[in-house]
């Protein structure tokens, strides 16, 4: 899960002045000891020597990063060239995540807009309908999608019944299936922040634009989109970041050719590969990219807030 950080802390109230640090102690202990420290430890592991079949030897080395970025031939004695295998997997992850973000935006923006412009009485029901899938177990949703897309699954049956196709389409284990899975997994993440932004949008701006001779699509482009941009950006981050490190969709809906970074990392620990430092290095690289995206977003937001 990834996301921007709402729930701010700018409140001026100080009725329990002085107890702040004490009250935060449990949060610091649990998140500090059981997340922050492990991530630091993971960074250390990425510089250690691998032990076969899992674990590490406490000897410092760059081997994991070397393996990720450089190719030194079969026996490691050739002059290094760039290793494309893992960069390729990374690139595929970025491409898939970007595509999923694009499609989510394509469907999510009109949906968020439509829901946010319903009369107040029905709006919360609409919102409720959109949020329910968000709270349904991701594994179950992915499994459902797998079932739907099977060669002999309901989608193929339906298409054959209508006569659109004669032979079942082979959908599962393709990049397409992974894409559908990512899109399906994270679509609600796109809708909710955009919805929040549209709900705050002042429709007098649309009226002003119409008054100044904008047709509705020009208004959308010149007035509405800039106004709700923060919501759109937040939605894109909320979809892009977890898609990038997704495991379930590529694992259940994809195959060997659709490998993504999440599966690559998982395989180092749970699978046959068993190379912990390499898995830790790959996780570090993923973390760096994600933190970079979040940092850029935070700085851009701070600049806009002034």
């Amino acid at each position: 899960m990834a996301g921007a950080a709402p729930g701010g802390g700018a409140s001026r109230s100080e009725v329990y002045r002085g107890s702040g640090p004490r009250l935060l102690l449990p949060a610091w202990i649990f998140i500090g000891v059981f997340l922050l420290l492990p991530v630091i430890l993971m960074a250390v592991y990425s510089f250690l020597t691998k032990e076969f079949r899992g674990g590490v030897i406490w000897e410092f080395t760059f081997a994991a990063y070397d393996q990720f970025f450089l190719n030194r031939g079969l026996f490691g004695d050739e002059p290094p060239t760039i290793e494309w295998t893992y960069l390729g997997i990374f690139w595929r992850s970025i491409w898939q995540a970007g595509l999923a973000t694009f499609f989510c935006l394509l469907i999510g923006f009109p949906t968020a807009w439509y829901v946010a412009t319903r009369p107040v009485s029905t709006r919360s029901v609409w919102l409720f309908l959109i949020t329910i899938p968000y709270w349904v177990n991701l594994l179950i949703r992915t499994v459902s999608m797998k079932f739907l897309l099977r060669d002999t699954g309901p989608l193929n049956e339906f298409l054959m019944w209508t006569g659109v196709i004669a032979e079942p389409l082979s959908l599962i284990n393709t990049n397409f299936a992974v894409q559908v899975g990512l899109f399906y997994s994270y679509l609600p993440f796109m809708v909710l922040p955009i919805y929040a932004a549209v709900e705050r949008y002042d429709f007098a701006l649309s009226e002003a634009a119409a008054d100044l001779y904008c047709d509705s699509w020009t208004t959308l482009r010149l007035v509405i989109l800039p106004a709700v941009k923060p919501g759109i950006v937040a939605g894109c981050i909320l979809v892009f970041v977890p898609s990038l490190g997704a495991f379930l969709a590529p694992d259940l809906l994809g195959g060997a050719k659709t490998f993504m970074i999440g599966s690559l990392i998982e395989e180092q620990f749970k699978g046959a590969a068993g190379n912990w430092p390499f898995g830790a290095a790959a996780a570090m690289i993923l973390l760096t990219v994600v933190m970079g995206v979040l940092l850029i977003h935070a700085r851009a937001q701070m600049r806009e807030d002034g």
Binding site: A5, L37, P38, I132, F147, P242
Partner: protein
């Protein structure tokens, strides 16, 4: 005279219905097929509850029962602790003025939302192995607790922001100690936020597969890991029945949290 509605854009309504179709179709189809009498999972063979019976009495029943118990116990424990920790943190962030490390604390609370799940999973595994913490129910609980904190925090902090601090000031003006002001005044006013925070954390804990799969240790399963293990061998009808049951639990909980949220709103 009919004016153009500035809120209306051609195609947006169709897109919304399409969005709902995409979101619900797979779930509805699985729910429908879970009542399929046929053993071939895609041929419709009439209505039957036999896969539900199978879930509770079939050969895999004990495995799923244990997994379900683990899942619910962990979810309740993790959500309870996370709610308490998040409430304390929300008080610190909203009611104690400025202090050193406040912004860092906010970042820390949100850290579990920012670190990709797979990274958290790997880091937790490495950490538990390194310090020699035996993987099992305890490690799952701790890991869940950590990522439940921000989810419990969000609605609790939001609610606390909407409760003005004048009530607690009034309480203290009337000789209540800070603890009494919290217990007798702020806490009762926070109930809706705390309940939705708890429910959110509960659902999130119940939902987790990836991190659990890394830190669970041999032989211990939660529902998602058990389902995942099963699905790896192919989707069987009993999985669809379990999925439908879990779907029902999620829907009930979300509805509950929605109703509580509305009640809280209308009371103010």
């Amino acid at each position: 005279m009919a004016k153009t509605d500035l809120r209306r854009f051609a195609g947006f309504r169709v897109t919304t219905w399409l969005c709902l179709l995409v979101l619900y179709a797979p779930l509805v189809i699985v729910a429908v097929y879970s009542f399929n009498a046929s053993t071939s999972i895609t041929r419709w063979g009439g209505f039957s509850l036999k896969w539900y019976v199978d879930v509770f009495t079939g050969p895999e029943a004990p495995r799923f029962r244990d997994a379900a118990i683990n899942s619910f116990v962990i979810a309740i424990a993790a959500a309870t602790c996370a709610t308490i920790i998040a409430t304390a943190a929300a008080v610190a962030m909203n009611r104690t003025g400025r202090f050193r490390g406040k912004m860092a604390s906010l970042a820390l609370i949100n850290l579990p939302l920012m670190v990709p799940e797979i990274v958290t999973a790997v880091a937790s595994l490495i950490f538990f192995i390194t310090i020699g913490f035996k993987t099992g129910l305890m490690t799952i609980f701790v890991a869940h607790l950590v990522f439940c904190i921000p989810f419990a925090y969000l609605p609790i902090a939001a609610r606390m922001q909407s409760v003005p601090d004048m009530y607690e000031q009034a309480a203290m003006d009337l000789y209540a100690t800070p603890w009494e002001a919290f217990r007798l005044v702020l806490l009762p006013l926070m109930i809706p936020g705390i309940l939705s925070g708890f429910l959110l954390a509960f659902i999130i804990s119940l939902d987790d597969f990836l991190i659990t799969n890394f830190v669970k240790g041999a032989g211990i399963e939660t529902l998602p890991t058990a389902i995942f293990g099963s699905v790896k061998q192919g989707i069987k009808p009993n999985i669809m029945a379990i999925s439908t049951l879990l779907l029902g639990v999620s829907v009930v909980l979300v509805t509950l949290s929605w109703v509580i949220g509305r009640a809280g709103q209308s009371r103010n």
